[in-house]
């Protein structure tokens, strides 16, 4: 039986005893019913407390892999710079050799 079910049963019983003469047991029952109602209210937030156990995807691995990609970008930029220099040298060499290349502004 859940706290909520127990609380409902107690509330129902308290209502039934409304017409009965006041005594200590009736008072204690009413008190218990109220206390349980407070517990029910607090228990409605329990699902949020369970979030603590929720595990998230590990993104630390992505961070380290991104560093690798950054390195690859830098490597490619260096490689591109080198190739452009080689092309420039090759163009000059071809011009010196008297080779006419279509479209080239030598």
């Amino acid at each position: 039986m859940t706290i909520e079910e127990l609380s409902n049963q107690l509330s129902q019983l308290t209502s039934e005893l409304e017409s009965a003469p006041d005594d200590e047991s009736k008072f204690e029952l009413k008190l218990l019913s109220h206390e349980l109602e407070k517990q029910v209210i607090a228990a409605t937030f329990d699902p949020l407390a369970e979030l603590e156990t929720l595990s998230l995807a590990d993104v630390e691995h992505l961070k380290s892999l991104a560093i690798g990609v950054k390195q690859a970008i830098e490597d490619d930029q260096r490689r591109t710079k080198l190739v452009l220099e080689i092309i420039a040298i090759a163009r000059t060499a071809l011009r010196v050799a008297g080779v006419a290349l279509p479209g080239f502004i030598l």
Partner: protein, 204 residues
């Protein structure tokens, strides 16, 4: 017999190489670049949506905490009224001041205990909402890391790679563009045939 170093042959060979590279080069397809850029754009927008969503949920949770606390206070007040009512009934039957004092002391103790029991409950509720906020923050941080990784990957995808740059240079040199690819391929076939014939003649 070695082939003569003919400038005309070079000038034909150069566009051949260029066009071959256009066809065979490993340039990142436009579709890949576009998808990557759109993915990053969508993820950036999603980050904003996620932040707003978490904000709304947290505000709702805070409002629920207030409602819960108000209701707990109401129940506590109701219980206190019951204690007071019971004490009043008892006081009516009390014969001596000592008995009266005893009833009053009991009432004070009961009310005090009643109020004190609320604090752990309220604390538990507040902790639950704090847990929600904490998890939201973790989720947002994780998504930021995912976005950062996507951005880095996109940076690489959008980067003009060495081979693409070389192709661009060569393509520029021979003044071709995407629309001319078909005619270039035809030219390649023609030049390749011509080269084949030249080589055959040179060998014979």
């Amino acid at each position: 017999m070695p082939m003569p170093r003919n400038p005309i042959a070079y000038s034909r060979l150069f566009p051949l190489i260029a066009a071959s590279m256009v066809c065979a080069g490993c340039a990142t397809p436009v579709a890949v670049r576009t998808l990557s850029a759109e993915l990053v754009k969508t993820q950036r927008v999603y980050t904003v949506s996620l932040h707003a969503y978490f904000g709304s949920v947290e505000k709702f949770a805070e409002a629920q905490v207030k409602v819960a606390e108000i209701r707990i206070d109401e129940i506590t007040a109701e219980i206190n009224r019951d204690f007071a009512q019971r004490a009043n009934s008892a006081l009516a039957g009390a014969a001596t001041p000592v008995e009266r004092q005893k009833i009053i002391d009991q009432l004070i103790r009961a009310v005090g205990n009643n109020v004190n029991t609320d604090q752990p409950l309220k604390h538990k509720i507040e902790e639950s909402v704090a847990s929600l906020k904490q998890k939201d923050a973790e989720l947002e941080a994780a998504y930021q890391a995912i976005l950062a990784a996507s951005e880095k990957l996109d940076e690489y995808i959008q980067l003009k790679k060495t081979n693409e740059l070389v192709i661009d240079q060569l393509v520029q040199s021979v003044s071709i563009n995407g629309q001319k690819i078909t005619s270039i391929v035809e030219a390649i076939t023609r030049i390749a045939t011509e080269l084949s014939l030249t080589i055959s003649k040179a060998r014979s």
